[in-house]
Amino acid sequence: MFNASISPNDILFMLRGAGVTLLLTFWAVLGGTLLGVAFGLLRATAPGWPSYALGTLLDVFRSVPLLIQLILATAFAPIAGLDWQPFTVACLVLAVYASAYCTEIVRGSILAVPLSTRRAARSLGLTWWDDLTVIVFPIALRVGLPSWMNLALGLMKDSALVLWLGIIELLRSSQIVVTRTQEPLLVLMIAGTIYFLISFPIARLGTWFETRWQVHD
C-alpha cells in the first residue's frame, strides 16, 4: 500500500476549506440574524394569529433535518427556474434555518424582560418605542447574546452538511485529502483541530459573557 504523507499543500487545501466554512457561517449568521430579529420582534410584540402562524412555520425548519432541507432546496431551485450556484442555495437554506432559531432567541429574550420593568418605564412617560429601544433591547441583548453566540457556533458546525451539495468546505476538503493520502485518522484529527480552534474560544467567550452579565444585573 502506498502511503503518501500529508503535504503542506494538503494543509493549505484544508485551510481554504475552513475559509469556505467561515464564509458560509458568516452569511448564515448575517441573514439569520436579520430575519430572526424581525420575526422575533413580531412574535414577541404582536401576539395573535400572524405571530402564531409564523411560529408554526419556523418550527418546521427546526423539525426537519438540515440535510433534507438542503437537498430539497437544491432540487427545488431548477424546478422554480432558478439557476443558482450550490453555494448560494446553501447560504439561503442556512440563513432561513438560522432565522428559525434566532427568532425564538429574540422572542425569548424580549419576553424575559420583566413586565414590571416595562411598566416602570411606561409610568415615567416613555413611549412604547422608547421603552422598546432604551429599556427592552439592551436588557434582552444581555439575555440573548450567549444563546446567539451558541447559534453562530452551531451554524459553523452545521455548515459541514453542505458537503452533500459538493461544496468544498472544511470537512469535504479533508475527505478529499483522505482519498489521496489514505490517512483518515490523521487527516480527520487535523480537521477536528481546526473546528475546535474556531469554536472553543468563541464558546468560552459566550460562557464568560453569561457569567459576567449575571453578576452585573
Binding site: V60, S63, V64, P65, L66, L67, I68, Q69, I71, L72, T74, A75, F76, I79, L153, K157, D158, S159, A160, L161, L163, W164, L171, Q175, V178, E183, P184, L185, L188, A191, G192, Y195, F196, S199, F200, A203
Partner: protein, 204 residues
C-alpha cells in the same frame, strides 16, 4: 419509508438512552477529583460540543476504520450521535446539579436522611425535573442528526430509504418532500410522547 421511520426512531431513542448514561458519568467525572477520568470527560465533552456532529460520525466510520476497527454505517451513526448526545447532556446534568442548592441536601440531612437518601429522595427528583426538558430537546436534535447516516452510506433509515428511491427514480423533490413531512411527524410524535410522560411524571 415508514420502515425507515422506525429505524430513525430506533437510532434516536437508543442514542439518547445510552447518551444519558454516558452523560451522567461524564458529568460526575468532570465534577469529581482531577484525575485521568476527569481529563477524559473534559476532552469528550469539549470535542462533542466544538466539532460538527457529522465530523464525529466520520470519525467513528472512517477514523476507527483506519485503526482496523471496521463498523457498519448503522453503528457508526449510532456511535457518533451517542457521542454527541453524551457531551451535550453531560453539561446539562452538570448545570442541573449546580442549580439545586446545597441547602436542599442539608435540609434532607437535618431530617435524619443519609447522604444517599438525600440524593435519591430530594436531589434526584428535582434534577430529573430540571433536565427533562433539555433531554427532550436533545432527543429531537438526535432525530434530526440521524439523517446524517446518508453521508456514511446508511440506507435503512428514513433518509437512506428516501435516497434509495431517489437514485432509482431521480424524483428528488417529491421523495424528499415526503421524507421532510415524515421527519416532522416523527419529531412531533416523539415530542408529544415526551410531554405525555412528563405530565404523568411531574404531577406536583
Amino acid at each position: 419509508m415508514l420502515a425507515g421511520c422506525i429505524v430513525t426512531i430506533e437510532v434516536a431513542v437508543l442514542s439518547i438512552i445510552i447518551g444519558i448514561a454516558f452523560g451522567v458519568l461524564l458529568a460526575l467525572a468532570r465534577m469529581g477529583r482531577k484525575d485521568v477520568w476527569s481529563w477524559v470527560a473534559n476532552a469528550w465533552i469539549e470535542v462533542a460540543r466544538n466539532t460538527p456532529a457529522l465530523f464525529q460520525i466520520y470519525l467513528a466510520y472512517f477514523g476507527l476504520g483506519s485503526l482496523g476497527l471496521h463498523i457498519s454505517s448503522f453503528l457508526a451513526l449510532l456511535a457518533g450521535i451517542t457521542f454527541n448526545n453524551a457531551g451535550y447532556l453531560a453539561e446539562t446534568f452538570r448545570g442541573g446539579l449546580r442549580a439545586i442548592p446545597g441547602t436542599q441536601i442539608r435540609a434532607a440531612r437535618s431530617l435524619g436522611m443519609t447522604a444517599g437518601q438525600g440524593f435519591r429522595l430530594v436531589v434526584l427528583p428535582q434534577l430529573i425535573r430540571v433536565v427533562y426538558y433539555p433531554i427532550t430537546n436533545q432527543m429531537i436534535l438526535a432525530v434530526l442528526m440521524t439523517a446524517l447516516g446518508l453521508t456514511v452510506g446508511l440506507d435503512s433509515d428514513l433518509a437512506g430509504v428516501t435516497q434509495r428511491f431517489n437514485v432509482l427514480t431521480y424524483r428528488t423533490f417529491e421523495y424528499f418532500s415526503v421524507a421532510a413531512v415524515l421527519y416532522y411527524l416523527v419529531a412531533k410524535i416523539l415530542l408529544a410522547a415526551a410531554r405525555l410522560l412528563a405530565f404523568r411524571l411531574f404531577r406536583y
